[in-house]
C-alpha cells in the first residue's frame, strides 16, 4: 500500500519524471465503501496544469476479480479533474484497492495510464 488516503492526497511522479505530478484524492474522509465519494486528480508539469480531454480513475482490487469500475472525471479548474463514484465492499474483508489514473491529452487517440495508487478503505 503506497497511499494513505485517509491522511490526505497522494502524489506520484509518473515515469520518474520529477517535473510531472499526479495528485490523487478521495473525499469525504475516512474513505468508506458503499457511499458516494468524490474523486479528484490534479495533473501538473513543471508547475503548470496539464490540460487533458479525458481523465478517469479505474478501480480494481488486487487479488480479487471485480468488474472494472471506471469513474470519469471532468475538468473543474486548470489541471484539476473531479468525478463521483462508489467503492464497493468486498465481503471477504479485503479493503485494499488500486486506482489507475488515465488521461488523454489533446491530439492523442486514446487515454493512457499515468499513475497507480494502492490505498485502504475503512471497514
Amino acid at each position: 500500500m503506497d497511499c494513505q488516503i485517509d491522511s490526505g492526497p497522494c502524489s506520484r511522479a509518473p515515469g520518474g519524471d520529477p517535473l510531472t505530478r499526479i495528485i490523487f484524492d478521495i473525499k469525504p474522509k475516512p474513505v468508506v465503501p458503499m457511499k458516494r465519494l468524490r474523486f479528484s486528480v490534479t495533473a501538473m508539469h513543471g508547475g503548470k496544469a496539464i490540460e487533458a480531454t479525458h481523465v478517469s480513475v479505474s478501480l480494481s482490487m488486487p487479488g480479487m476479480y471485480m468488474m472494472e469500475n471506471n469513474i470519469p472525471l471532468r475538468r473543474v479548474s486548470d489541471g484539476r479533474y473531479e468525478g463521483e463514484g462508489v467503492i464497493v465492499r468486498c465481503t471477504s474483508g479485503r479493503r485494499v484497492w488500486r486506482a489507475d489514473i488515465s488521461l488523454r491529452r489533446p491530439g492523442e487517440d486514446r487515454s493512457g495510464p499515468v499513475a497507480s495508487f494502492h490505498f485502504r478503505v475503512a471497514p
Partner: protein, 228 residues
Amino acid sequence: MEAGYLLSFTTGLLGGFGHCIGMCGPVVSSYYLYSEPQGASPRSTARQISSLILFNAGRISTYSFIGALAGLTGSFVNTAGRLAGLQNIISVIAGAFMIWMGLGIVGIFRTGSRLEQRGGLILKGVGAVIEGEGMWRFYPVGLLLGLLPCGLSYSVFIGAAGSGGMLQGMVFSLLFGLGTVPAMLLVGSISLVAGRKVRGLIYRAGGIAVIALGILFVIRGIRAIAAV
C-alpha cells in the same frame, strides 16, 4: 451499450471461476451436499440437472431485479443503500443455514421435518425448502442466495445503474448472471457427485467445513450490519 453487455457477460464468465466459486461456492456446495444425503438413493441425472438450472434461474432472477432497480434509479448508491441491510441479514441467515446443514451432514441432526411438524407458515416453508423433496425448492434458494452481499455483483450493479434505464439495467445484470452459470453449474455438479460418492470421514469432514464456513458467513454479515 453492446460493448457494455459483452463486458458484463465476460465479467460473469471470468468472475464465476475467479470469484464466485470461492465466495458463493461453499453455500451452494453445502446445500447440494445436504440435499443428497449419504446413503440416499441418488436422483436421476435429469432431476439433478433441473435442480441446478432452477437454482441458477433463481439467482439470476434476483440479479436481474436488482439491475433493473439500479437502472431505473440510475444510482447504485440509492439501490445498494436500500438493499444493503437486507443483504447483510441474508448473509447471517445463509450462514445459520450452513451451520444447520453442516450439523445435518455430520449426522448430529436433520431438523427440517421437525420444523414442518411444528406448524406456522414460515417455519413450514423453511422446512420444505431445507428438507423437502421437490425440485421447485431450488428456485427460492437461488432467489435468496442472489441477495448475498458480493463485491463482484455490486460492481456489476454500478454498471447497471449507468446503463441508462430499467430494461438496460436488467439485461446488463441478466447477462452477468448468465456468465456465472458455467462456474456455478460446475460447483453444483461436483457437490452432487460428492454427495453420492464420498463416504465416511471425508463426507463428515465436508460437514465440518460447511459449519466453519457458516460461522464465517454469520460473522461477515454481523460485521457488515455493525458497519452500516
